[in-house]
């Protein structure tokens, strides 16, 4: 029991993290309670639709009737019914597929309800049920506090009493109160509870109140305000309204809610809102879980920062869980790869596949082989083994690493991956010390570090030839749209200076990378920029059906040698096409041309494509506009994510073979079919950037910033990545931007420091607790100076025979990264709904398995989450309601495809903030404080209208201004005198010389610096049109597109878990 925290009833009493391996959210122990939660949840979902509500209620009620017999399943079974009838889009995702039986049941229920309406009370009684009372009773620790309630609940109580004994009376009346009283376990600690608590509410209030609603057939008609305010008016504690009739009880149940809160010391400003919640007909539920009581991402992040941010993370010990990605920490490599390179979903792997299957926790590693390191950490040492090349196991070809075991006095070594015994070559021989370690272990990176590089020999090169330095080819759309938007002029101007900053290696003065230029519309123009020419020469290739490179000499040139010609070219391009009226473009031939150019030059490289429109010109890869929003939520929705034609896959394959990476900058004014256009970038390890409705004035900074970063970043070319594992597990699945022609080798035409590959492992044998599990990720690549290298990352994990060990060593952020990528790939082949259901089911199974096998026995009504995974539901919900899986009306097909492909190569930190945005209050902390203000949870309730907030998710950046922000603040930030004068949608803050302005702009800059893409700022005013856009990112709230709020989802998850357990 010491290992668990009981929660819910005892939310304030979170135990010290150190001793916590699990948090139990103790829901009311008894069945009715659970059903009440469910009921409430359904209510909330439907509350906007009064009419539907009445439909729904009977069914719920039906289930409630049955609930005593089938406590686990029945009540939930009914839930889906409502959606079917009322709001399918909303509810579908969460419920099992509606069956006809259920529908019937529901209809029956309706009839009943209609007929029985007057007779409700009895039913209510039945429903109110002993169980609920029981739980309630258990949870009432402080009779004093709730003394006033007993009267309220008389009828149900009587039943409950049977269960609970002593204290039934209080419980139902003040639902909140009852909430807190929840399960037995929490009993003693109840008093300290701070927030209103959901389960109790749900149980007490809703279960009873709903009948009331139903009973009054036109509850919809009831002006919620009046209904609510009226009854609450009376002293909340009294709240006896329940007794007279259920109708009243409902009101009563809300009334008290307000009152008690202050008592509970509700800590957040949202409380007032809460208090105002109307009855079921209202948009907001009558009662709800206290959001403060459920696991808070902010809190978890803060705790980890405080606990682990100060000490360096030393990688020597096997199976250590690293600090969270949100924590700043230093890494000391002592034999395992830094978490900056590899993060795992779990650092303790079940020994057997049975265990793994039972737990359903995906075993995956998120690998970022070329991750950039903070300046304090050293990049991997380069080891040169001379002509013999890196030392490898003869059998499995694993590279020498710290886990290799030297035996026989150092003459041989046993491979840690396949156990093969290999001879140590004479030139590598070294004696062992008394511990069996080579005496030179600490002199050799490959024997002492988790990450290092080998210089590759010619055997590792294509065609057994050392590679030539790579090349960059800039391919610029010069069709009408590109010219008109000012893009071409801007780009050409920028390139003139940007070419001085091509990636260099080490201390070299000049980049080895050569550059080439192509412009195109529906034909391609190549440029000869040979240094000996006085003027560049343009070569037009109009045979787009059969693309080729028209020149070799003079196309790819050294920047400094050909500077004059290049400058002249970049000056002339905008002029040459200034009056173009060509609107059609080609696309596949452009990539083909770049690839052929690299092939002709026998080098790897990268294409930078700047493209504006759907390629409709007659050519291979020609596309048609097939955007069709009607497909959303149908079985054909997946086609929106699939490429229109197979031509791009074929092309991508050729690109990969050539080591030709494609970065795509899109500037669409309308649908461009990102799903198809991004196929090649995706499969070649490239990036896609999208600037919808590009205008130089508005988007210049963002585009140039992205471009600069993209051109300057260090890239590896023509790479192959292989993940080797010790016997027992095997890499089976890979996610990311790359191509695979077999099942083991990840081929990357290009790989930069932002790209990650997520690898999933499966058991193929038993693992051994003693030897653990080893991963070795080997990346063979060509550096930007043209050097062929191998980068090796090693990581040792623990193995366990106890499920608890698995759950204790998980990392939710990584898990979410994996699950998001898995789901985002799933939408290519399955209906989105199926994908969402799969995610929910898996999450439920993971948690249910924990509940069943690891948590100490407790009542089924308790939601118990493993400490390491307590954020899983909230994060998963964010994934579920992301644009890809649940698009809102304003999300375009291209946006979805774009996001889908972005997420595919995101690392853990990026997915973390992408799915759960950071919301920073700007005026809460003193201006002087140098540190970032502590974030708040992404919910509207957390916003105070007197404050200003920054919200970022790695792609977007909002500045939200509350309507009643102090005038001084407005003045110092926006240089206008009042809120109303602030321009909505502003994207640049005026540069003002005052501490607040400086601080905010500084903060924005630092946020941008943390992200791999430039985030354009949007200023949003409270109550403004743009606010809708902003609210989309308040992920704990219910979303307009039908995504559940955190609270709702948690309840649903609980339900699912219970279903699994029963």
């Amino acid at each position: 029991m010491t290992g668990e925290t009981k929660w819910g009833c005892t939310h304030n009493e979170r135990q010290p993290v150190s001793s916590t391996c699990a948090a139990i959210w103790a829901a009311p122990a008894c069945l009715p309670r659970v059903s009440s939660i469910q009921l409430w949840w359904a209510t909330r979902v439907h509350s906007p639709h009064h009419s539907l509500w009445s439909l729904q209620w009977p069914s719920t009620r039906l289930s409630a009737n049955i609930s005593p017999r089938f406590p686990g399943s029945q009540p939930f079974g009914s839930v889906p019914l409502t959606p079917v009838v009322s709001q399918p889009t909303v509810l579908q995702p969460y419920g099992p597929p509606p069956t006809s039986a259920q529908v019937t049941a529901q209809l029956a229920g309706m009839q009943i309800s209609g007929a029985v309406a007057p007779a409700l009370p009895p039913v209510g009684l039945g429903y109110g049920s002993p169980a609920s009372l029981a739980s309630a009773s258990g949870s009432f620790p402080n009779p004093g506090l709730y003394g006033s309630y007993p009267q309220g609940q008389a009828p149900p109580l009587s039943q409950a009493q049977g269960h609970l004994g002593a204290q039934p009376p209080q419980r139902s009346a003040p639902p909140q109160a009852s909430t807190f009283t929840s399960p037995a376990s929490g009993g003693p600690r109840m008093p300290s509870m701070t927030g209103p608590f959901l389960p109790g509410q749900g149980f007490g209030g809703p279960s009873l109140s709903q009948p009331n609603h139903v009973s009054s057939p036109p509850p919809q008609a009831l002006p919620p305000g009046t209904q609510m305010t009226g009854p609450p008016g009376p002293p909340p504690p009294m709240h006896s309204s329940q007794q007279p009739g259920y109708q009243l009880q409902q009101n009563g149940s809300f009334g008290p809610a307000r009152g008690p809160q202050p008592n509970y010391g509700s800590p957040y400003p949202g409380a007032p809102t809460f208090g105002s919640q109307p009855g079921p007909p209202q948009p907001l539920p009558p009662k709800r879980l206290d959001p403060d009581a459920i696991p808070s991402p902010i809190q978890v992040i803060e705790d980890d920062r405080n606990n682990r941010g100060s000490e360096p993370f030393v990688t020597g010990v096997r199976g250590q869980v690293p600090p969270l990605v949100t924590t700043n920490f230093l890494v000391k490599d002592q034999g395992n790869a830094s978490p900056r390179y590899i993060r795992c979903t779990s650092y303790n792997i079940p020994c057997t596949s049975d265990m793994a299957k039972q737990a359903q926790v995906p075993l995956a590693a998120v690998i970022k082989p070329l991750a950039r390191l903070p300046p304090e950490e050293v990049s991997p040492y380069v080891v040169d083994h001379g002509e013999s090349g890196p030392l490898r196991c003869n059998r499995c070809k694993a590279y020498m690493c710290p886990f290799m075991q030297f035996i026989e006095g150092g003459r041989r070594f046993q491979c840690c991956f396949c156990s093969c015994i290999n001879d140590v070559p004479p030139q590598y021989f070294q004696h062992l010390d008394h511990t069996g370690k080579r005496v030179d272990a600490y002199d050799r990176p490959e024997l002492s570090l988790g990450s290092y590089e080998f210089l590759a020999t010619v055997d590792y090169c294509k065609n057994n030839k050392f590679p030539s330095p790579p090349a960059f080819i800039f391919m610029i759309d010069v069709s009408y749209n590109a010219i008109r938007s000012g893009l071409v002029r801007l780009l050409c101007e920028e390139l003139k200076s940007l070419l001085d900053f091509l990636p260099r290696e080490g201390g070299t003065e000049e980049s080895a990378i050569r550059v080439g230029f192509v412009t195109y519309n529906k034909v391609l123009h190549f440029y000869n920029v040979k240094s000996s020419l006085a003027q560049p020469q343009m070569m037009v290739v109009s045979d787009v059906a059969d693309m080729f490179v028209p020149l070799l000499d003079g196309f790819l040139v050294n920047v400094s040698e050909s500077r004059a010609v290049i400058t002249s070219l970049l000056d002339q391009i905008p002029e040459m096409f200034a009056d173009t009226r060509e609107t059609e473009t080609v696309f596949a031939p452009v990539i083909q041309a770049g690839m052929e150019a690299l092939k002709a030059a026998e080098c790897a490289g990268k294409l930078f494509l700047f493209h504006t429109s759907l390629p409709i010109a007659e050519a291979p890869g020609k596309l048609k506009n097939r955007d069709d929003r009607k497909l959303i939520n149908t079985d054909k929705e997946k086609t929106l994510f699939q490429p229109q034609t197979g031509a791009y896959q074929t092309l991508a394959k050729e690109c990969v073979a050539q080591g030709c990476c494609v970065d795509l900058f899109l500037f669409p004014n309308q649908y461009v079919d990102v799903a198809t256009l991004s196929v090649v970038p995706q499969l070649t390890g490239g990036s896609v950037y999208k600037y919808a409705c590009f205008q130089v004035e508005n988007d210049q900074e963002r585009f140039l910033s992205d471009l600069r970063r993209d051109v300057q970043k260090v890239v590896g070319f023509d790479a192959v990545m292989r993940v080797r594992t010790s016997t027992g597990i095997r890499a089976v699945d890979f996610f990311g931007a790359f191509y695979m022609s077999n099942t083991t080798d990840v081929e990357l035409a290009g790989l930069d420091g932002d790209k990650t590959v997520t690898v999933e492992f499966k058991h193929d044998d038993r693992l051994n607790e003693e030897s653990g599990a080893l991963l070795q990720c080997a990346l063979l690549y060509t550096s930007c100076a043209g050097q062929r290298r191998l980068r090796i990352h090693n990581l040792a994990l623990n193995c366990c025979t106890q499920l608890a060990d698995l759950y204790r060593n998980c990392e939710t952020d990584t898990l979410i990264n994996y699950m998001a990528k898995f789901a985002y790939r799933g939408v290519l082949n399955s209906p989105v709904k199926t994908v969402r259901d799969t995610l929910i089911t898996q999450c439920a199974q993971i948690l249910a398995c924990y509940r069943k096998n690891c948590a100490s026995p407790s009542s089924a009504g308790q939601l118990i989450l493993p400490e390491c995974m307590k954020l899983l539901p909230v994060y998963l919900n964010c994934v579920l309601k992301s644009d890809v899986l649940q698009p809102g009306a304003e999300v375009t097909t291209d946006d979805r495809a774009y996001v889908r492909q972005l997420v595919t190569s995101m690392d853990v930190a990026e997915t973390n903030v992408f799915f759960y945005p950071r919301l920073l209050p700007l005026t809460k902390s003193p201006i002087e404080s140098a540190t970032e203000p502590p974030a708040v949870r992404a919910s509207e309730e957390r916003l105070s209208n007197g404050d200003i907030y920054l919200l970022e998710n790695g792609l977007n950046l909002f500045l939200w201004v509350g309507a009643s922000v102090q005038q001084g603040v407005v003045q110092s930030l926006f240089n206008v005198s009042s809120f109303s004068q602030i321009t909505s949608g502003l994207s640049v803050l005026p540069v003002l010389d005052n501490p607040l302005s400086k601080k905010v702009r500084g903060l924005i800059d630092s946020l941008r610096a943390q992200r791999s893409r430039y985030m354009k700022l949007i200023v949003v005013k409270q109550e403004d049109k743009l606010e809708m856009l902003f609210k989309h990112f308040l992920v704990e709230d219910k979303s307009l597109s039908g995504g559940a709020s955190y609270v709702d989802f948690l309840c649903h998850m609980h339900k699912e878990i219970r279903q699994l357990l029963s």
């Binding site: 034909v523 343009m538 059969d546 000499d553 070219l569």
Partner: protein, 713 residues
């Protein structure tokens, strides 16, 4: 008219016509017995300094199937203002403009000295001449340099308003856009892909009236009513640009690895040139000038692969049908040639390389379009440079000696029909009453198209006498033929040259001597040679030789004087004596104390006998007392120079001496009267033996006589 020789010469000078027979056998049967067909060599644009063109249009016979042009042979009724067509006997009214006509006031076309007359047509838009250079860049550096200089030089020779274009090729084909300043632009095509004319025009943006590239430069309205002229610009506008462009031309930059030939896309380059002109300037005078330095090695029209270890097809490969690419390549170039001819353009080929360049496959390009074909060792030779320069030579009027897009129509009087033509022409497939069913050469028509021609272009035209034996031509009757050549003059005027000739009929039985005396053996030899060559195109070599032999034997039988079975009695009259072997250059002429000058049209060889060579080596010519020797040495040089000045293409000029390696050019041509097989002359001053198995003229004539007198034949 003193002799037939003079008559022939006179006619040739006036009309540019030479007949095999100048008195015609009057019946079909007799004509066939003459062995050598009734035929003529026609030089349509024979240079006539004394012939001012008339500035009006010709008067045509009103019979729709005739449309012969009024000529001096027509009967004219000056009072009734009527004229009778001498071909169809239709009586025609003179047009209103001729009202003033009378015996003393005749229009030029009625005057006998104007049997050849040239009309200038004033109608229709005049289109500029077009010169499209198609340049191989797979050349050695100095070769390319020389070619570039020649091309740059040629810009100054072109008429200033002529349009000029540039296509370069190697592994790729580049069509250069000439209209722009700043960045030089070119359209590039893969050298391996055969494109249709439509595709080429699409890709060059010629199918749409407006191209984006062009819009980028909204200049003055287009000067020509043509779709696009980005690739073809007036010389005076862009000669600076083009000079620079040519100057910057690089050798094909694609690497050629050891053991490979450079990839040369001649076939595609030519195809694009044809397609470009087809799309932009159909039926306008245009020259595609192909400069190539080696065989096409890739794409359609390739003649040999790029592997050096596989040699280019030899004569033996062709004989054994073992030349892999030949048929395909020939087909490709024929297709291009036909298209070019259809469009009225012509193709010149300037091939300079030491090895073969695939002219065999490409020859139809020049042949069917009336283009030049020039072969040399290198562009860096005077042979090429001067030949090329000579293309742009001007006549006494200051006009270029070139004409374009000509059609030649031949009309005959009733006793004759047209059997065909052999020369740089293609059939226009016009069937008329004067078209014979028997074809000799390109037949089945009485109209041909000659896309490019110059004052020396000559066609052989073959006729058939159709008059039946039993319907004799009245005594003194004459047969008439009218040649009508419509063409675009180099001044861009449309012109029509009309030549009307008449010859006497004679009854072969009674007047064979007349006919015999009017035989033009030179013309006949050329006409028969053309027939032989024409046959060789489609027949096996030995068959053609056998046919030629047979014709010769039959001719000798017909016109020789001999006693049966007595070869020694065989004699041929003067008018036939040279016909069997016109060349009188014998190995017996090669003597130590002689200097020989040989002109074989393509080669001019000066050969110093052994003794002369020794004298020269000893330097006698520099000694004042041997000045006459100096003159002796100089004389052939002067003669050669004279030939070199005028000849097109410039001949190979060889100055050699006894024992010199280049003496082979002489030895391969002389009649091998002395060979290693008949050594009887060894040790005497009798000339040089030739190492060959060919028979000498003496042996040949002996056999010929034997066969001619043999009754078995």
């Amino acid at each position: 008219m003193a002799t037939y020789l003079e008559f022939i010469q006179q006619n040739e000078e006036r009309d540019g016509v030479r007949f095999s027979w100048n008195v015609w056998p009057s019946s079909r049967l007799e004509a066939t017995r003459m062995v050598v067909p009734l035929a003529c060599l026609l030089t349509p644009l024979k240079e006539r300094p004394d012939l001012p063109p008339v500035q009006y249009e010709p008067v045509l016979c009103s019979r729709p199937t005739c449309k012969a042009i009024l000529n001096p042979l027509c009967q004219v009724d000056y009072r009734a203002k009527l004229w009778a067509c001498n071909f169809c006997f239709q009586r025609n009214q003179f047009p209103p403009a001729y009202t003033g006509i009378s015996e003393v006031n005749q229009p030029a076309e009625l005057m006998p000295q104007f049997s050849t007359i040239e009309y200038v047509i004033q109608r229709g838009a005049q289109s500029p001449l077009i010169f499209l250079y198609v340049v191989d860049t797979c050349l050695e550096e100095d070769d390319l340099q020389a070619l570039k200089e020649s091309l740059q030089m040629s810009l100054s020779l072109l008429p200033p308003d002529a349009l000029v274009g540039l296509i370069t090729f190697g592994r790729m084909v580049q069509v250069h856009e000439l209209s722009c300043e700043g960045i030089s632009k070119s359209y590039v095509f893969r050298g391996t892909k055969d494109l249709t004319a439509k595709q080429i025009q699409d890709m060059l943006g010629l199918t749409k009236p407006a191209m984006p590239m062009q819009q980028a430069r909204p200049g003055p309205p287009q000067e020509h009513p043509f779709v696009s002229s980005r690739f073809l610009q007036p010389v005076h506008k862009i000669d600076m640009n083009l000079t620079d462009l040519l100057g910057e031309l690089q050798r094909d930059p694609w690497p050629v690895t050891q053991g490979k030939r450079p990839l040369r896309s001649t076939g595609v380059a030519l195809s694009i040139a044809v397609g470009l002109l087809e799309g932009t300037f159909p039926n306008t005078g245009a020259r595609i000038m192909l400069f190539t330095g080696g065989p096409p090695t890739q794409g359609p029209g390739m003649v040999v692969g790029d592997e050096l270890k596989v040699p280019i097809r030899s004569w033996h490969d062709i004989e054994k049908d073992n030349a892999r690419f030949m048929k395909k390549a020939t087909k490709h170039y024929e297709m291009l040639a036909n298209r070019t001819a259809t469009n009225g353009h012509c193709i010149d080929i300037y091939a300079c390389a030491l090895d073969q360049t695939g002219l065999l496959e490409m020859k139809c390009c020049a042949n069917l379009t009336g283009g030049h074909m020039v072969m040399g060792d290198s562009f860096n030779t005077s042979l090429f440079k001067q030949t090329f320069q000579r293309i742009f030579s001007k006549d006494f009027n200051g006009d270029f000696r070139m004409a374009f897009g000509a059609t030649l129509e031949v009309k005959t009087s009733r006793e004759l029909k047209v059997a065909g033509a052999i020369g740089p022409c293609v059939s226009l497939n016009v069937k008329g009453p004067c078209v014979s069913e028997n074809e000799l050469g390109v037949g089945g028509t009485n109209q041909w198209k000659i896309c490019g021609l110059d004052p020396t272009s000559t066609l052989g035209i073959y006729f058939e006498v159709v008059n039946q034996h039993n319907a004799p031509v009245p005594q003194g009757g004459r047969g008439a033929i009218q040649f009508v050549t419509q063409y675009q003059h180099s001044s861009t005027q449309r012109r029509i040259r009309v030549t009307t000739i008449a010859r006497n009929w004679a009854d072969a039985q009674s007047q064979l001597r007349h006919i015999e005396a009017a035989f033009d053996q030179e013309a006949a030899a050329v006409l028969m040679a053309r027939l032989g060559v024409f046959r060789a195109e489609s027949e096996e070599g030995p068959d053609v030789l056998r046919w030629l032999d047979r014709q010769l034997i039959r001719l000798c039988q017909k016109f020789g004087q001999y006693n049966k079975e007595d070869p020694t009695s065989f004699r041929l009259s003067d008018s036939f004596s040279l016909y069997p072997q016109p060349v009188l250059l014998d190995s017996s002429s090669i003597l130590a104390d002689r200097i020989l000058l040989m002109d074989t049209f393509f080669q001019i060889v000066i050969y110093l006998g052994e003794t002369i060579a020794q004298w020269r080596k000893a330097g006698y010519q520099d000694m004042p007392e041997y000045e006459n020797f100096k003159h002796l040495l100089q004389a052939p040089l002067d003669d050669a120079q004279e030939i070199l000045q005028a000849r097109f293409p410039m001949p190979r000029y060889i100055n050699t001496e006894h024992g010199g390696s280049q003496a082979r050019f002489l030895l391969s041509k002389v009649n091998p009267s002395q060979t290693h097989n008949n050594l009887y002359a060894w040790g005497q001053e009798t000339g040089a033996p030739i190492l060959t198995d060919d028979v000498s003229l003496q042996v040949f004539m002996d056999h010929l006589k034997k066969l001619a007198v043999s009754s078995a034949c």
